[in-house]
């Protein structure tokens, strides 16, 4: 499985990569902001099983990125999880309205992150995106 990791912190991308490897992900593309992420998506022919994205980044933030990709009908099926310190209810609602499938607040445990990814991917313990509201 292939994931696109979008965060301006290389450390956070590395933590996420380590967690996803335990779930069977074996290919990763990394980007430091939304603009680079869109470029990497084009280069990868938009073929990703999961996109993990931070909210606050330079150039293009995660919310804008999600709004952009959700405006393209062909990309509506992409699974997106937002990982951010913006844990207040208005932020969560805004992200869900924009089209994220799941939301993980920093700081998080590896198990919390992995469980959310499983839910989003519809794994054996998951209930699908509706459980993330």
């Amino acid at each position: 499985m292939k994931a696109l990791l979008v965060d301006d912190s290389a450390t956070m991308r590395k933590i996420q990569k380590g967690a996803l490897e335990t779930l069977g992900f074996d290919a990763f593309v990394e980007a430091g902001d939304g603009v680079e992420a869109i470029q990497k998506m084009r280069e990868g022919n938009f073929a990703f099983d999961l996109i993990v994205i931070d909210w606050n980044m330079p150039n293009m933030d995660g919310l804008t990125f999600v709004q952009k990709i959700r405006s393209v009908p062909a990309l509506k099926g992409l699974k997106v999880v937002m990982v951010t310190s913006n844990a207040d209810r208005p932020s969560i609602v805004a992200a869900l309205k924009a089209g994220v499938n799941g939301y993980v607040a920093k700081p998080f445990t590896p198990d919390t992150f992995k469980q959310k990814v499983k839910e989003i991917l519809g794994g054996p313990n998951g209930q699908g995106a509706a459980s993330n509201v």
């Binding site: 380590g18 700081p107 998080f108």
Partner: protein, 172 residues
């Protein structure tokens, strides 16, 4: 500010944020102790600094480690050994400070205090000390952990006008 305990409220939120990050992302309990103003502080040669801004108050957050402690903490944070501060160690210290401040600001926001944060920066090398402006009130908190001690310093100045603070950058 000390008279009405506001600096203690700010400090409590940053202590909670620090404890929560270490508990959740490193699986590590830390014990916090607010130091007396003139108490000796642990040596530091790695410090991450985050600026704070807002209409009610402005200030800074500084997280300081000895180099060996910083490397142990970052290694635990990443789940793999980090031997050098550049680039992985420095990036890791910045991200830890970023998450702590993000969490503290969320706690402050839930209490009606809106603040923004700058992009974290890190000071590396040599035993250094960091001094704040005289017009700020501060708390220095020593944290003890199995990976070694470290300190956090929160300095806050209440703003006396309703004008805008620093450019808002929401925590990431």
């Amino acid at each position: 500010m000390s008279e009405n305990g506001l600096d203690a409220i700010y400090a409590a939120c940053f202590i909670d944020g620090t404890e929560e990050l270490f508990r959740t992302m490193l699986g590590l309990a830390v014990n916090a102790c607010v130091l007396e103003t003139d108490a000796p502080r642990p040596k530091a040669d790695v410090s991450a600094i985050v600026g704070l801004g807002g209409t009610a108050a402005a200030g800074s957050f500084v997280l300081s480690f000895e180099r060996a402690t910083a490397l142990r903490v970052i290694s635990r944070f990443l789940g793999s050994e980090v031997r050098e501060m550049m680039p992985d160690g420095a990036d890791g210290v910045c991200e830890i400070a970023n998450i702590i401040v993000g969490r503290a600001l969320a706690l402050l926001r839930s209490g009606g205090i809106a603040m923004s944060m700058s992009i974290p920066q890190v000071i590396l090398g040599g035993v250094h000390s960091i001094a704040g402006r005289r017009d700020t009130q501060g708390k220095v908190v020593r944290f003890d952990s199995d990976l070694g001690p470290f300190t956090a310093e929160i300095r806050i100045r209440q703003e006396m006008n309703d004008g805008p603070g620093m450019e808002r950058r929401r925590e990431s």
